[in-house]
């Protein structure tokens, strides 16, 4: 992903499934193909959120380790 994300969301410390819900709310405000960057905790959030977003039609373009967790690059899917 060469261009900067269209929106950023810090979900550090937000429990499941609230983190997924908040990511879906942010994605709903984007157009198809736009990019949301999310900071996510390691462990359950990282296990649960990416597959839950994929189930709702979005795709994970990149996963990158940060000092405290993960940075996800999410491509907004179709309605």
């Amino acid at each position: 992903m060469s261009h900067p994300p269209d929106e950023r969301l810090d979900l550090s410390g937000v429990p499941c499934p609230q983190n997924t819900a908040r990511a879906l709310m942010a994605l709903a405000l984007l157009d198809e193909g736009e990019v949301l960057e999310v900071l996510l905790d390691d462990g359950e959030p990282m296990e649960n959120v990416p597959p839950a977003l994929e189930l709702e039609g979005h795709s994970i373009a990149a996963r990158e380790r940060t000092a405290t967790g993960w940075r996800l690059t999410i491509l907004r899917g179709e309605e």
Partner: protein
């Protein structure tokens, strides 16, 4: 029937009932479950959190859903006073607090806290200076009702909160009656905790919230799962929360202006047609939907019953103290004599009330209370 008891509870709007029913019928899961049905429930809750917090100008992350205003008030008071196992300290509140604030404070006093109740003036206002002088180094909490459920008086929340912020004392604002009816921007008003609820604004009963400013020390009062950041465990009332948000969306300034105009119409009618009536509370700075008025010489209970028989549903003082024969402590705190307090009714219109409803009520009140009228 003409329903004029909207400060006790309101009738849910059709859009609210639809939102509650849709949430219940949509197969949503437990908002803590991580499968798709749980995510759908969580999505309803998080969307509602944004809508509800926005009307406070507040960060949605600070909003904790509760079972209503009483639980929000209990959580704020018990949770802050006893945070970190604290067992002593000085507590301040006004003399016109709702029982769901006054009772937990008195419970803390029985356990060793020092509760000081601050006087209000004859309109029900707490002077910010009174609070300023009462603060002590060991004060751990100030709790003030924003809009009085009995008198309608709206407090100067900004000044009161600023005094508390300067003294670094957590300040709780009970905004259960004022939420959406009186503008409140928590970016400007430095309150640390704010209680709100749904059923006072045409939402469902059984759902409310406490907004907590980041950094406020708060312990849970109810213990269980980790919902609501562990501060208010328990499965969330997803359908109720969806209805709460629907109610907030409908609570527009235009609707408030409509109710304000109805209250003004009622006040004008009372002054013109019932000059013997005594209106409590301030002339300016009141809740749009609360009018407290005494009819000297009448027994409030008898008048209430006579109006009830004629289809006018009002309240005696406060619904929450219904059943009690003692005069309202809130009215007497504002200097109303016990006899006049017993002759007081609370009339509480909504945007569904018409001017014709109020004219009919005034006709009945003239007949029932004019000097020399047969006892109701």
């Amino acid at each position: 029937m003409i329903y004029l008891d909207n400060a006790a509870t309101t009738h849910p709007e059709p859009e609210v009932i639809e939102a509650v029913a849709a949430a219940m019928a949509s197969g949503t899961g437990n908002a803590s479950a991580i499968h798709r049905a749980g995510v759908q429930a969580s999505l309803l809750v998080e969307r509602a959190r944004v809508t509800i917090a926005a009307r406070l100008g507040a960060d949605p992350a600070g909003l904790l859903f509760t079972s209503g205003g009483t639980e929000a008030n209990n959580l704020a008071i018990l949770g802050v006073a006893q945070a970190g196992g604290r067992a002593r300290g000085h507590l301040l509140c006004s003399a016109i607090e709702h029982p769901s604030v006054r009772q937990p404070l008195e419970q803390l006093a029985r356990q060793g806290f020092d509760l000081e109740i601050l006087p209000v003036d004859s309109t029900g206002r707490l002077a910010p200076d009174t609070l300023h002088h009462a603060l002590r180094p060991d004060t751990v909490l100030v709790s003030v009702i924003h809009g009085s459920n009995e008198l309608g008086t709206v407090q100067d929340a900004a000044s009161i909160a600023a005094i508390c912020a300067e003294a670094r004392v957590p300040m709780h604002l009970d905004a259960c009656q004022s939420y959406t009816r009186v503008p409140l921007d928590l970016g400007a008003v430095q309150a640390d905790l704010v209680s709100i609820n749904a059923h006072k604004i045409h939402g469902p009963q059984g759902v409310g919230a406490l907004w907590v400013r980041p950094g406020t020390a708060l312990d849970p009062v109810v213990h269980g799962g980790g919902q609501e950041r562990g501060l208010r465990p328990g499965t969330l009332n997803t359908a109720g929360i969806a209805g709460f948000a629907a109610a907030v969306a409908l609570a527009t300034p235009a609707r408030t202006a409509q109710v304000t105009a109805l209250r003004a119409h009622l006040v004008a009618g009372l002054r013109e047609r019932l000059p013997w009536a005594r209106i409590h509370g301030p002339r300016e700075g009141t809740l749009p939907h609360v009018l407290s008025v005494a009819f000297p010489g009448a027994m409030g209970k008898d008048l209430f019953m006579a109006l009830n028989r004629r289809g006018f549903l009002v309240s005696l003082g406060s619904a929450c103290s219904a059943g009690s024969t003692a005069p309202s402590a809130v009215l007497t705190a504002a200097g109303v004599s016990p006899a006049l307090a017993r002759a007081t009714l609370r009339i509480s219109p909504s945007h569904h009330t018409t001017r014709a409803d109020l004219e009919a009520l005034l006709d009945a009140l003239v007949e029932l209370t004019q000097p020399g009228a047969a006892p109701a």
